[in-house]
């Protein structure tokens, strides 16, 4: 099977399911769930089959290149292609998406109201999420990014809790604000990019997708440029090409506004857009509301997958395309990351609502992702230390996957309790261990995974991030590691308040029935993955390490090259007082270790 | 005053006065018919301008005069203005039938 057919069918299979539900006259809610379950199950099976060795389409580990990449003409005159592909960064997230979505649909049994619309929307949502991770064309990425938005708005707004309308509109507004900034950044990058740059010759010749789409045009342009002829610039939306342009040429270094370069602005706009989705601290306030009001399965998807879109955007687009700006912003971003970690943890400590607590823990955990990415100016002998950066990135990626598993599990736990006793007040729980022993045992595992207990998945990511931060700034690493303590604090305290203790003293005690088989299997699957990743992290690293390392190497090389050859700049670094106050010197000052 | 030949500028001044009168009429009159009269004044100012611009003898740069184009424009403007007035009156009548007044200040059903 060609990769085009394979990836497209994975991507649009949920849509097919949605159509089936739509045109199935008088379908019952249970039947809806079954159809969606089969549909998402098949998608999950297909993505997991990539993991198996030996199949013709299996995903080769330890490979840095894009696999199953293909591009079809969509809007060739705007250089927009239907370009999908998998690599070490997107592949784990695709698998996570398929898995979590399947589990979320499995957990949707309690949804009885407007079941047809619910399942249609959730299936569309899955397509959108898969599309975000699969697409390698910036424009296509943006389209899928927005496609995710609409179903989510309705899923929260119709099936949510008491303040659903407020939560839904808040989510919608925050995200769309970010998307508008992203759209502007997207236009900036597109119109600044030019594939006919001679420095890209090697890339243009080697990249099969570029060859297939605009190769001849680009090569002609390059030849003409080498011969000093005037050429129309050849813009591109290809993410990989944009990365190369950012890393090999200075097309994005043009000053744009107020003395800052184009890539500075592009980074800023993109970063805000992704940070909102992530969510980072000043713009995180939509998240607790959305999580609290969303129905359980939607919370699982929201925490398990949607937040990862922000992190993915940072790793895939923000950092590789704008390396210098990334370096300029290293400290602010890192500090924001640490603040998010601490703030999220503190806020979680202060919550009385169980679901809100879990939501704030998400804020805290996603802070690690940002911190891990920000450590891009670690110096080792005048060179940017690509190893430390790769470690940070790996940690961030691992953290995303781990959080996807553990937070989905935690939200499921909360949802299970809420379905039974219709409240989430932490001080009214207690003693669940006696009433629901199996469930409690599994939840302990999930919560410990989230806490970062060694041997479970949360640990690896956090420790990688903190280690690389240590090299970047010891102070930030120390402050950041306080989060470990706080996390342990609120998780343990929660466990104590909810599961331990003598007696359940809240309302509706008679409803606290033991977990059903379905519920146990959902939690069990999640816990199994948490343990697998915890004790054998290589099972994940083997897929993403190569790509991440390559990215980090390329960026580090770019930044080192920028720093080194210029004698004058070295001079500046020694005596910053006499330097003219332009951006470059600011940059140099900032990156001084 | 009477010894100087007349130029386009003289006509433009007359046109400007008519125009201003028309605009003031449109803004101050509370009566639909009054407002329409203001419109007629404005249109007639424009027609006057066209006619003045068409006469090469009124100016130094004779070759830049509009000639017959200005006349045709003026003719069409007259015809269109008459048509517009007819429709506006029909609408005013219709309004009168529904409201028993043609005072636009009493047109308050819509928030404005």
């Amino acid at each position: 099977m060609s990769s085009a057919a394979l990836l497209s069918s994975i991507l649009f299979f949920p849509c097919l399911g949605a159509l089936v539900i739509l045109f199935w006259a008088r379908i019952s809610p249970a039947m809806c769930q079954k159809v969606s379950l089969v549909c998402s199950g098949l998608v999950a099976l297909a993505t997991f089959s990539f993991l198996l060795p030996g199949l013709p389409w299996s995903f080769a580990p330890y490979e840095a290149t894009v696999q199953h990449g293909f591009a079809l003409d969509w809007i060739p005159s705007f250089q927009i292609y239907y370009y999908l592909g998998l690599d070490g960064i997107s592949f784990p997230l695709v698998v996570l998406t398929a898995g979590v979505s399947f589990l979320a649909i499995a957990a949707s049994g309690t949804i009885k109201k407007h079941a047809v619309s619910y399942y249609i929307l959730i299936l569309l949502l899955i397509t959108g999420m898969l599309g975000v991770f699969l697409s390698l064309d910036l424009f296509l990425f943006y389209i899928f990014w927005e496609v995710v938005l609409l179903p989510m708005y309705f899923l929260i707004g119709i099936w949510g809790g008491p303040r659903k309308e407020y939560a839904a509109i808040k989510f919608f507004l925050y995200t769309i604000f970010g998307s508008i900034l992203m759209l502007i950044a997207l236009l900036m990058l597109y119109f600044a990019s030019d594939l006919t740059d001679p420095r890209l010759e090697e890339f243009v010749k080697s990249d099969t997708i570029i060859q297939q789409t605009v190769g001849s045009q680009a090569l002609e342009g390059i030849e003409a440029r080498q011969a000093d002829d005037a050429v129309q610039p050849l813009h591109t939306f290809n993410i990989l090409a944009l990365q190369k342009i950012g890393q090999l040429t200075d097309q994005f270094d043009e000053p744009l506004l107020w003395g800052y370069s184009l890539q500075w602005w592009a980074f800023l706009l993109l970063f805000i857009g992704f940070a909102i989705k992530l969510p980072l601290v000043p713009v995180h306030t939509w998240l607790p509301d959305a999580h609290v009001e969303a129905p359980t399965p939607i919370s699982m998807i929201l925490a398990g997958v949607l937040l990862k879109m922000g992190g993915y955007g940072l790793i895939r687009i923000c950092y590789p395309i704008c390396p210098e700006a990334a370096q300029w912003f290293a400290y602010p971003v890192a500090i924001l990351g640490v603040i998010a970690m601490l703030y999220g943890a503190f806020a979680a400590l202060a919550q009385w609502d169980f679901k809100r607590l879990v939501a704030y823990s998400s804020v805290s955990h996603m802070g690690y992702v940002v911190l891990g990415l920000a450590v891009c100016s670690v110096y080792a002998g005048g060179q940017v230390d690509s190893q430390a950066w790769a470690m940070g990135m790996n940690g961030a990626m691992f953290q995303m996957i781990a959080h996807g598993i553990s937070s989905a599990g935690m939200f499921f736990c909360v949802g299970m309790l809420y379905d039974r006793v219709k409240h989430r007040q932490l001080d009214q729980f207690g003693g669940l261990f006696h009433r629901m022993p199996t469930f409690s045992g599994l939840s302990f595992g999930i919560f410990f995974a989230s806490m970062g207990l060694p041997g479970l998945c949360g640990f690896i990511g956090e420790i990688f991030v903190l280690l690389s931060t240590w090299k970047f700034s010891a102070v930030l690493a120390i402050v950041g590691s306080l989060t470990l303590l706080l996390t342990a604090g609120y998780i343990l305290w929660t466990l104590q308040r909810v599961y331990l203790g003598f007696e359940y003293h809240g309302p509706l005690p008679e409803k606290l029935s033991p977990a059903t088989k379905g519920e146990i299997s959902i939690l069990g699957v999640l816990l199994a993955f948490a343990i697998l990743l915890g004790i054998y992290p290589q099972s994940l690293f083997r897929y993403m390490e190569a790509t991440v390392t390559q990215t980090a190497d390329a960026l580090a090389e770019r930044l080192s090259a920028k720093e080194e050859p210029d004698e004058q700049q070295a001079q500046l670094r020694i005596d910053p007082l006499e330097a003219p106050a332009d951006t470059k010197t600011l940059l140099v000052e900032r990156v001084q270790p | 005053m009477f010894t100087q030949p007349i130029g386009v500028a003289h006509y433009l001044v007359v046109g400007a006065i008519l125009f201003v009168c028309g605009i003031v009429c449109m803004t101050t009159k509370r009566n639909t018919i009054g407002i329409l009269m203001g419109v007629e004044l404005v249109l007639s100012a424009a027609i006057l301008n066209f006619v003045a611009f068409s006469q090469p003898a009124f100016r130094v740069d004779q070759e830049a005069s509009l000639g017959i184009d200005g006349h045709v424009f003026a003719l069409f403007a007259i015809v269109l203005a008459a048509a517009e007035a007819a429709v506006a009156l029909a609408i005013a009548l219709n309004y009168y039938n529904n409201h028993s007044t043609i005072d636009v200040d009493r047109a308050q059903d819509l928030q404005g």
Partner: protein
């Protein structure tokens, strides 16, 4: 040239023009048939809707440009059938005019002017004509479905609609101020009557009265501005005006600045009124509330499309790209012998190279060589200040209009009023690329073409979105007898299909991907970025954000609010004629993005003739 020859030429021109002007002629004929059918007694038994529909469908078919082989093979064209027909008609021996000039083609093709330079027949004209006539077809079908107008007034209302459409088509193809004014009048005056279609209702007659009074005033001001502009530039023919303007500025004649400025401003007032741009938007909400939803759709889509077409013609026409070498009377009289022109333009070219910075030196050199080759038809630097002024005025107005429209929409309780403000906001979006196109005229012709193409695309999307929304409003009005937003509460439970369509249309109006509204908006933003109008780009982006609130509020009421007790049932199943009609308008909105490439090719083709 003898008098006889003059008549032969005029006759030839009229014939050749008539051939490509058939759609409008068919519309006019339909009007006459609608009138004549009242005479015989059996005439009242024939459905006037049917006649109007057939007429407009025929007009639409005719508006598809018929295939000419002339471009590919000029030899073949001369032997093509229309020519031989023409030659027989006109004179025994082929007219001198064809022998004497290479410019003359056998018959009219896209890019020519018709009716002796009064009207441009180019891609943009063809596009607008198709859009407008297609809209009329769709609107007539909608009117058949909703039952407004009733049988008595049907013939009258359809006559007015068709008459206004002829006016719109004149507006978008005008190459001459007279045609522009005639078009505006032909379009507006029937619209005033249409606003009062339900003549027994108080608010309808009030809407019509307000519309007519404000409209007449705006038309008067516009005519006054046209008189000043034409007088100062010595012609009313747009390309000639542009040429004279360029020459005036090039010769350093600056005593007419005030006249030109005031004249241009007054014309802009008239256009802004038609576009309902801030601060001349005030009629729009009142008229929309008073008129029926069907008429609102007409005013909101067709009228705005025509106004933006005229704005494009005017802004681009006056600021520097004459489409063809011109032989207008004034230009002829001015004795612009080619030598003189060359001298002026050489001076221009030199001053230009001096003015431009080093980075643009190469570009300037290129332009200079171009200027030497084709002195009349190329943009030159002397019009740059004029362009800057136009860009500033239109850009400012666009920014204010969008922002005002979006902010004022918040407090509205009536859906038609809300859509009126939404229309105002969208008019602002539509004006943005016009500013971008003018800004790019002398820098980057391809970019300017993109900007005009973005208008085309936005209008295509806008056609479906707004017609769909107003169709739903009209259909719901027939069921629940109300147009208040609060009465729409919980309507999703009665007619889910309709509300899903409504939701898609609303999200498309916001401009969210993957819907059609995004397509247009993205393109507009791209044009703004390319034109360097970053402030406008940010304002546009911010406004997209503002607009979310009120569109979502309507949707929220329809979907999330509980139903009121006292409401007549609103069930409109999607599998019924009205439901299918709405679905047919929604489906393109949902899937237009997939067919971006053909749309892009088409829109670029439509915009191309403007920049020959």
């Amino acid at each position: 040239m003898s008098f006889y020859q003059l008549i032969v030429n005029a006759k030839w021109e009229s014939w050749a023009s008539t051939l490509v002007y058939l759609p409008e002629i068919v519309l006019c004929l339909t009007i006459v048939i609608l009138l004549l059918l009242r005479l015989p007694r059996w005439g009242s038994r024939i459905s006037s809707l049917g006649i109007a529909l057939v007429g407009s469908v025929i007009a639409f078919v005719l508006s598809i440009p018929f295939e000419t082989t002339a471009e590919a093979n000029p030899e073949a064209a001369t032997t093509a059938q229309p020519v031989s027909l023409l030659q027989e008609e006109t004179s025994p021996n082929p007219p001198d005019i064809e022998a004497s000039s290479e410019e003359t083609k056998a018959y009219k093709q896209p890019g020519d002017t018709i009716f002796s330079g009064l009207i441009v027949y180019d891609g943009l004209t063809i596009f607008f004509r198709q859009l407008l006539i297609l809209f009329v077809v769709a609107l007539l079908i909608l009117m058949g479905l909703t039952g407004i107008p009733d049988r008595d007034s049907g013939a009258d209302v359809f006559t007015l609609i068709l008459g206004a459409t002829v006016g719109f088509s004149l507006m978008v193809s005008s190459n001459h101020l007279l045609i522009a004014f005639l078009g505006v009048e032909m379009a507006s005056v029937p619209s005033y009557v249409l606003a009062g279609t339900l003549k027994g209702r108080r608010i309808a007659s009030e809407a019509a009265l307000k519309f007519a009074l404000y409209g007449a005033g705006a038309a008067g001001v516009m005519l006054y501005g046209m008189s000043l502009m034409a007088g100062a530039l010595g012609s009313a023919h747009l390309p000639t005006m542009a040429e004279n303007l360029a020459q005036l500025t090039a010769n350093g004649v600056d005593d007419r600045q005030l006249v030109l400025f005031l004249g241009g401003l007054m014309i802009l007032v008239g256009l802004a009124f038609k576009l309902s741009a801030f601060p001349f938007h005030f009629w729009c909400p009142d008229v929309f509330e008073g008129a029926t939803a069907e008429v609102d759709a007409f005013l909101s889509v067709a009228s705005k499309a025509a106004a933006i077409g005229l704005l494009l013609r005017f802004a681009i026409g006056i600021s520097g790209v004459p489409g063809e070498p011109i032989e207008a009377p004034a230009a002829v009289a001015q004795a612009t012998s080619t030598e003189e022109a060359k001298n002026t333009f050489d001076i221009l070219a030199i001053s230009q190279t001096e003015a431009t910075s080093l980075t643009f030196a190469a570009q300037a050199d290129q332009e200079k060589t171009k200027l030497e080759e084709k002195p009349v038809t190329d943009p030159d630097s002397s019009v740059v200040p004029i362009q800057d002024l136009i860009v500033f005025l239109i850009g400012l107005m666009a920014a204010l209009t969008t922002t005002f429209g979006n902010l004022a929409a918040y407090g509205q309780t009536n859906i038609k009023r809300l859509m009126a403000y939404s229309t105002i906001a969208h008019a602002g979006y539509l004006m943005m690329p016009v500013a971008a196109a003018v800004a790019l005229l002398s820098k980057d012709q391809a970019g300017a073409q993109e900007a005009v193409a973005s208008v085309v695309v936005y209008l295509i999307a806008y056609f479906f979105m707004n017609l769909g929304v107003f169709a739903i409003i009209a259909l719901l009005r027939n069921r629940i007898r109300s147009e208040e937003i609060e009465d729409y509460a919980g309507i999703v439970r009665e007619s889910p299909g309709l509300v899903v369509c409504f939701g898609i249309l609303m999200f498309s109006l916001i401009g969210l991907p993957p819907l059609a509204g995004f397509l247009g908006k993205f393109w507009i933003f791209a044009a703004l970025w390319e034109a360097g109008l970053i402030t406008l780009l940010f304002i546009g982006g911010l406004n997209t954000f503002f607009s979310i609130f009120y569109y979502l509020r309507v949707l929220k009421v329809m979907v999330l609010s509980p139903e009121p007790d006292h409401r007549s049932p609103a069930a409109i199943p999607i599998i019924s004629w009205p439901g299918l009609y709405v679905a047919a308008l929604t489906v393109p909105v949902a899937i237009l993005l997939v067919f971006w490439e053909p749309i892009r090719v088409y829109s670029l083709w439509a915009a191309a003739d403007l920049f020959q």
